[in-house]
């Protein structure tokens, strides 16, 4: 039992778990995506691309990732820096900020739907203040921009805290002495941030960006809750093909596209934000 076999034995459950529940379905999905009635090929991808919603789904997905992720990173950076300057109550503030993390995506989406739809809090408030003559409904297919903004707000509210947590952890690894040294040597607070803190936080920024980008490409429940079928994204289209069109192969093609995008994004962040060995603290 002991000796050489033990380490392998200990990792075995994890390996079996990943193989059965991750690797096998992955291979099956990829196989399914390339399987057509007349053998293998790109038929499913062609059907996916020919669909009316495909173009919108691609555009929406990229707009969503392109806006939500940078917004979250910038806000989380600011929040992490604020926390650093907080003395008492720091833990309480962090705790409150992370509450949305405890909610499921769908619940978060529904909360924002309740606030933003035509009978929601915002509409009622504006109506009572006399700013609008009758409750407006923004979240319809007629106003894709409003839908888009609502989805971004909901996702921002729900998932920024995880970035904060990663950045706060990363910031704690950067000794305060570097910022102090920079200030003694004449750097203004902004220059300390840009020249010292940001570069030293590259590893945690990288982790946060990989995590957020991959999850933003896969955003689903928030989008469905607020936008329904009026705001198609890649993952919701995969869902539609699977459940409404009963075409698992085309859904699999979507899944493969999302997977490739996630992989590409990960590789990009790994390369762009690489910290060479010799520059690590």
């Amino acid at each position: 039992m002991r000796g050489r076999a033990l380490p392998y034995l200990l990792v075995a459950p994890a390996v079996i778990f990943l193989t059965v529940l991750f690797f096998v379905p992955l291979v099956q999905t990829i196989a399914l995506a390339f399987q057509t009635t007349n053998g293998t090929g790109f038929g499913n991808f062609a059907r996916m691309a020919d669909d009316l919603n495909f173009h919108d789904a691609v555009v929406n997905t990229f707009r969503f990732v392109g806006l939500a992720v940078p917004l979250q990173l910038a806000a989380a950076m600011g929040m992490a820096m604020m926390l650093r300057h907080l003395g008492r109550g720091r833990d309480t503030v962090l705790w409150i900020w992370t509450i949305p993390l405890g909610l499921s995506d769908l619940a978060a989406g529904l909360i924002w739907l309740a606030m933003l739809n035509d009978r929601g809090y915002l509409a009622s408030l504006l109506f009572h203040l006399g700013l609008v003559s009758e409750p407006q409904s923004w979240l319809t297919y007629e106003s894709p921009m409003a839908l888009f903004i609502a989805v971004v707000i909901a996702e921002f509210w729900r998932a920024t805290a995880i970035v904060v947590v990663i950045l706060v952890a990363g910031l704690q690894l950067v000794p305060k002495e570097y910022a102090e040294a920079a200030s003694v040597f004449g750097a203004s607070p902004w220059r300390i941030f840009t020249r010292i803190t940001l570069p030293l936080m590259k590893p945690s920024i990288q982790s946060a960006l990989i995590l957020r980008t991959v999850l933003a490409f896969e955003a689903f429940a928030v989008v469905i809750a607020i936008g329904g079928r009026n705001f198609p994204v890649l993952v919701s289209e995969a869902y539609n093909w699977q459940n409404f069109n009963q075409e698992p192969a085309v859904a699999a093609a979507y899944a493969v596209v999302v997977m490739v995008l996630s992989l590409v994004a990960t590789v990009v962040w790994l390369r762009v934000l690489r910290t060479p060995e010799e520059q690590r603290a």
Binding site: E177, E180, V184, F185, T275, A281
Partner: protein
């Protein structure tokens, strides 16, 4: 002209803890003063207040006659060497040295000149394009000093800069630092808990204890004429011996005790003999008090011996038993 004047600097944390109580200290232009004290005496806090990294509860700091108490660190015109060096890991040695000049908006020619000058001063030329992680501890320490000297500061603050080096390297760097700093003529305030370091480097030493300045003086004054029992016990290795005498305290350095013949002086029972080469250190009991005697290294004495000793009369320092303050003169060295 850039002397440092510290006027009534007080620092308390909350209502209960006082780190510094009304510290006054003058450092003349081009002078090297060591702040010496045990850990927790407030010496690093005082240095950080001067740097602007900590805010004083009361009092003010003047550099070159200008009150800098309320200025941010970047506007105080000083440089600092940190205990852990705080050399920026993401910048090459070259850019670390240039950092202060860049932040102060120096032109490229001056930056290049200063980088070359300080790098050669600290023998860092071959390392300019390396990152700090590729350097040894001693080299990183030199980068930290070079970064500080490159800005040609009016005032240099050093916070235990040698404490992270191994013993041999520390000795080398100490001599090197002394040479470089006396050449640069920078007003220097140097925090250390190592009394040998303070004695070796400083023009004057300020001994801090529990947030107060116990004594300020030249190394020789501090060593030979300790103003308080604390200073006598803290400075010197081994420390000063203290024997009670008629309501006062007699202080005598271990090397200022002579062996005398039987029947003379004080009886001394040797418990431990430590032959240290240049000296032989005896630890034992005299008049039921622990006492240390440092003899010339040639003496051969066995543990358990009963000896007789006599303090040299001109080296005895008398202190008040209650206050611990010296009652003999403390102004000049003998």
């Amino acid at each position: 002209m850039a002397g440092i004047t510290i006027e009534g600097i007080r620092k308390s944390f909350g209502t209960t803890t006082t780190a510094l109580e009304a510290v006054n200290l003058d450092v003349a232009d081009r002078e090297f003063v060591a702040l010496l004290g045990p850990s927790g005496c407030g010496k690093t806090t005082l240095l950080r207040i001067i740097a602007g990294l900590e805010t004083q509860t009361a009092g003010r700091v003047l550099i070159g006659g200008r009150d800098i108490s309320s200025l941010p660190p970047r506007a105080r015109g000083l440089a600092m060497v940190f205990q852990n060096y705080a050399v920026f890991p993401h910048l090459k040695v070259r850019d670390n040295i240039a950092f202060g000049l860049k932040m102060h908006g120096a032109d490229a020619a001056r930056i290049a000149r200063q980088v070359v000058r300080t790098a050669s001063l600290l023998r860092l030329e071959p390392l300019l394009d390396r990152y700090p992680a590729q350097l040894s501890g001693g080299q990183r320490q030199r980068v930290a000093v070079a970064r500080a000297l490159a800005v040609e500061p009016a005032v240099l603050l050093m916070d235990e800069p040698l404490s992270n080096l191994d013993a041999l390297l520390r000795l080398d760097m100490r001599a090197e630092l002394k040479e470089i700093l006396s050449e640069a003529g920078t007003t220097t305030l140097y925090v250390t808990h190592d009394q040998t370091e303070a004695m070796a480097l400083a023009d004057r030493i300020a001994v801090l204890h529990a947030g107060r300045v116990e004594q300020v003086g030249t190394p020789s004054e501090i060593y030979h004429w300790p103003a308080t029992r604390f200073v006598g016990g803290f400075v010197g290795s081994p420390p000063m011996n203290f024997l009670p005498r008629d309501g006062a305290i007699l202080g005598i350095r271990p090397e200022d005790i002579d062996l005398v013949g039987p029947g003379e002086g004080i009886a001394f029972r040797v418990n431990v003999v430590e032959p240290l080469g240049a000296q032989t250190l005896l630890t034992g009991i005299a008049e039921s008090h622990l006492l240390r005697v440092a003899l010339n290294g040639e003496h051969r004495i066995a543990a358990g011996s009963d000896l007789h000793i006599r303090p040299r009369p001109d080296r005895i320092r008398w202190m008040d038993a209650a206050t611990g303050r010296a009652t003999t003169r403390t102004e000049t060295s003998p």
